[in-house]
């Protein structure tokens, strides 16, 4: 056991750190904010492309896909350094972290060149079409249908919660291509350009604001998709959906760590030097937050190490459950402690951080509301508990 990372990993961090010092967009440059998770402002696209060219964007990939064949540990220190600096490699996170890697893993050379690389270079943005009304966490129950028709498929149905769809160039959509086989067996993955006739994206407001447009309903009404847009084999969409995130899963916890760290920093800055810093009850929850953040970091490191050494990391559910619950608790306590000081609801009512995504620099109430999302999206805390109980503790279904 050691408190330090191996020297090789630290060397990569140092190199990356120097690169970031030289290349991170300036405060003056990064003023235009994105309006959704598929709306990447020009300055962000430029930076993302620079990351691609330098091989820092998806470091585990080969250079032609924005990487440097880095080991997981190296990928991790790169990710950690970005997190520490609150520098975002992409403002189309699902495009970068899920959709492009899916196409790189399962797609044809032409799909890689036409769809994946532009997403990586910041030239296109993409949205992920998984959830449907009524299906929720239950992917096997999806009902959007694609019927083979000549040189392609005709798609009918509806997706929901499709983040950024209205700002995206295309959607990687999971559709039912064989209605006669059980549940997840008849699903395929299609690249559907949003400009396709018959595709309608309807963004809707979130709990935070009527004008916070990221979620979409997406309607497919006899939308024709060419056969060449099928990703992976026909009826093999389940593998595309579940196989995309490989060892990178071991780094997902960093986003919750960032949330915790954000409250630690912003709340700390807000109260340091005031009488709240001396208040025992504030200290009580703030101390718990510090312990939670440290524990998440330690458990996260362990999970990265296990994955790097080839073990199966069954702990992602733990990190998700623990990290998201801790993040919600922290924002709730911060809101309560600040009392009337937390009333103000303008976006700049919390300290502004250079390049920060809005969910981290929003008002305390916004932070509180958004913290619910992390205990729900990507599998609710209830579902994580079921998984842990059954897979780790071995309790009966």
């Amino acid at each position: 056991m050691k408190l330090q990372f191996p020297a090789e990993a630290e060397a990569v961090r140092a190199e990356f750190s120097a690169w970031l010092d030289a290349n991170t967009p300036s405060v003056a440059e990064a003023t235009v904010r994105p309006r959704s998770t598929a709306d990447s402002p020009p300055w962000a696209r430029r930076f993302q492309c620079a990351m691609f060219d330098a091989g820092w964007l998806l470091p585990g990939q080969p250079p032609e896909f924005g990487g440097r064949n880095a080991s997981l540990l190296e990928q991790f220190v790169i990710e950690e350094e970005l997190m520490r600096r609150r520098v975002y490699h992409s403002f189309n996170p699902q495009g970068l972290s899920i959709i492009a890697p899916s196409i790189l893993m399962f797609g044809t050379p032409q799909q890689k060149a036409t769809w994946a690389v532009p997403v990586l270079r910041g030239e296109k943005t993409a949205a992920l079409g998984m959830s449907e009304p009524g299906a929720g966490s239950d992917l096997a129950g999806l009902r959007t249908r694609a019927v083979a028709d000549g040189e392609g498929y005709v798609v009918n149905g509806q997706k929901v919660w499709t983040s950024g769809a209205h700002d995206s160039d295309f959607i990687l959509a999971f559709v039912r291509t064989d209605p006669d086989v059980p549940k997840h067996k008849g699903i395929s993955a299609l690249i559907i350009p949003t400009a396709t006739p018959g595709v309608t994206c309807r963004p809707f407001g979130s709990i935070c604001s009527k004008d916070d447009h990221d979620f979409n309903e997406v309607f497919f009404d006899d939308a024709f998709v060419p056969a060449e847009n099928l990703v992976g084999n026909l009826n093999n969409g389940w593998h595309v959906a579940t196989g995309t995130l490989g060892e990178e899963r071991a780094m997902l916890w960093l986003s919750n760590y960032e949330r915790l760290d954000d409250v630690i920093n912003n709340f700390g800055a807000r109260v340091r030097g005031t009488e709240l810093a001396d208040d025992p009850l504030t200290q009580d929850w703030y101390g718990r937050l510090l312990v939670d953040a440290m524990a998440l970091r330690l458990l996260g490191y362990q999970s990265v190490a296990k994955t790097a050494s080839g073990h199966d990391p069954a702990e992602q559910s733990i990190l998700k459950l623990f990290g998201s619950e801790a993040a919600h608790e922290a924002t709730n306590r911060a809101l309560e402690t600040l009392g009337p000081l937390a009333l103000d609801h303008t976006i700049d009512s919390a300290p502004y951080n250079h390049m920060n995504l809005d969910q981290f620099s929003a008002s305390w109430f916004d932070r509180y509301c958004r913290s619910f999302a992390v205990t729900i999206a990507g599998g609710t805390s209830e579902i994580q508990r079921n998984i842990i109980a059954e897979r780790i503790l071995g309790l009966p279904r």
Binding site: F204, G205, G339, P340, F372
Partner: protein
């Protein structure tokens, strides 16, 4: 103890619910939030129903009912997320005038509220506003943060400190002119008006200084009424959330069954329900202590604020969680009630402060509670 509503009170509750269901609908509240619709017609409807007059004494034109009836109404208004100036007028302005004013002042302002001509607010500037005698009247200088309805109330009762101690001065907003600056704060509950107040030489006539005898005690009790008002409204908003959630989990299916059949869902919903029962019972008890002028009143109010604060925490956490993604949309009414309920923790003392107050009374005080 008799803690059940009597028949008249139950009838009142039913009547209020019926009227709100017709007049202060979710669509109406949403239009106020989204389109900036003016809620005044709804206030006028309430005036027509004598709701502002409810707990005002009969001799100044009120209906002479008690805090029990007022609480019945406030809970329903919290449930509806009422966008009117009812809360501040009846639980802040009315109490300060009633507790601190003389007979003429009561007739003037309480009568005015009862008759429907006046809405009011309360600005607690005991340590931040100075009053100086000025040619038979008073001159006010200073500022007060976070005043409910300061931007729309007709009359603002300002607590200020003069050479002879703390006093209360009723400022007519419309006539104060440039000496009074009001800065609305964009709070997260879009249906509640909160503003900061700056007074630079606001002059009020002598008859606008409240002339009651024990002003310090009067102000303290008025603040207790205001605190109880928030607590009751919070219970109503939480009840609304529970109803939305219970409907949702009965209808929403997953893995082939309604999610309300899952134990984890049931238990979270029950914890919400119990938290609401607890908060409502204590709020009613606190209301009763006003009715009976019980010596436990002050601590009862703190208990009510604590229970309301505990309640919103459980109800919001579990409520949003049980709604899942559906609760995360603007279209869902959940967040409208959530915003009102959350406001509770920011106003008139935090849960923690009131909880410590309750404990200190028992551990360090005379043990009156």
């Amino acid at each position: 103890m008799e803690l059940e509503l009597d028949d008249d009170q139950r009838t009142l509750q039913e009547t209020v619910r019926g009227i709100i269901a017709k007049e202060c609908t979710p669509a109406f509240v949403r239009a106020v939030i989204e389109d900036g619709l003016d809620p005044s017609p709804w206030w006028d409807t309430m005036v027509g129903l004598y709701w502002p007059a409810l707990a005002i004494a009969e001799d100044v034109g009120g209906l002479g009912m008690t805090w029990i009836e007022l609480a019945i109404l406030l809970e329903e208004l919290g449930h509806a997320v009422d966008p009117s100036p009812y809360l501040a007028t009846t639980t802040q302005f009315v109490p300060i005038v009633r507790r601190c004013g003389d007979a003429a002042q009561a007739a003037r302002w309480l009568g005015g509220v009862a008759a429907g001509g006046i809405t009011g607010a309360l600005a607690l500037g005991e340590h931040t506003v100075r009053a100086t005698a000025d040619d038979g009247g008073w001159r006010l200088d200073g500022s007060v943060a976070y005043v409910v309805d300061a931007d729309r109330a007709d009359e603002i009762a300002v607590v200020a400190t003069a050479h002879d101690g703390v006093g209360v001065y009723v400022v007519e907003r419309a006539s104060a002119g440039a000496a009074l600056t009001i800065d609305p704060i964009p709070v997260f509950d879009h249906t509640t008006h909160i503003a900061g107040l700056s007074l630079e030489g606001v002059v009020v006539s002598g008859d606008r200084r409240l002339g009651g005898s024990d002003l310090a005690e009067g102000i303290a009790v008025a603040v207790e009424e205001a605190t109880l008002g928030w607590s009751v409204v919070t219970v109503g908003a939480c009840q609304r959330i529970l109803e939305l959630v219970v409907d949702h989990v009965k209808q929403r299916h997953q893995f082939g069954v309604p999610i309300g059949s899952f134990q984890a869902v049931k238990h979270k919903a029950v914890d919400m329900y119990v938290a609401i029962q607890r908060a409502r019972a204590i709020a009613q008890y606190a209301a009763l202590t006003f009715v009976e002028d019980d010596p436990r009143r002050s601590i009862a109010v703190s208990m009510a604020k604590v229970a309301a604060g505990d309640c919103q925490e459980v109800v919001l956490r579990n409520g949003v969680q049980l709604f899942g993604g559906m609760g995360f949309t603007w279209e869902n009414d959940l967040h409208i009630a959530l915003r009102r309920a959350k406001l509770c923790v920011t106003m008139f003392g935090s849960t923690i402060e009131h909880r410590r107050r309750v404990a200190r009374d028992a551990l360090l005080g005379e043990g009156a509670a």
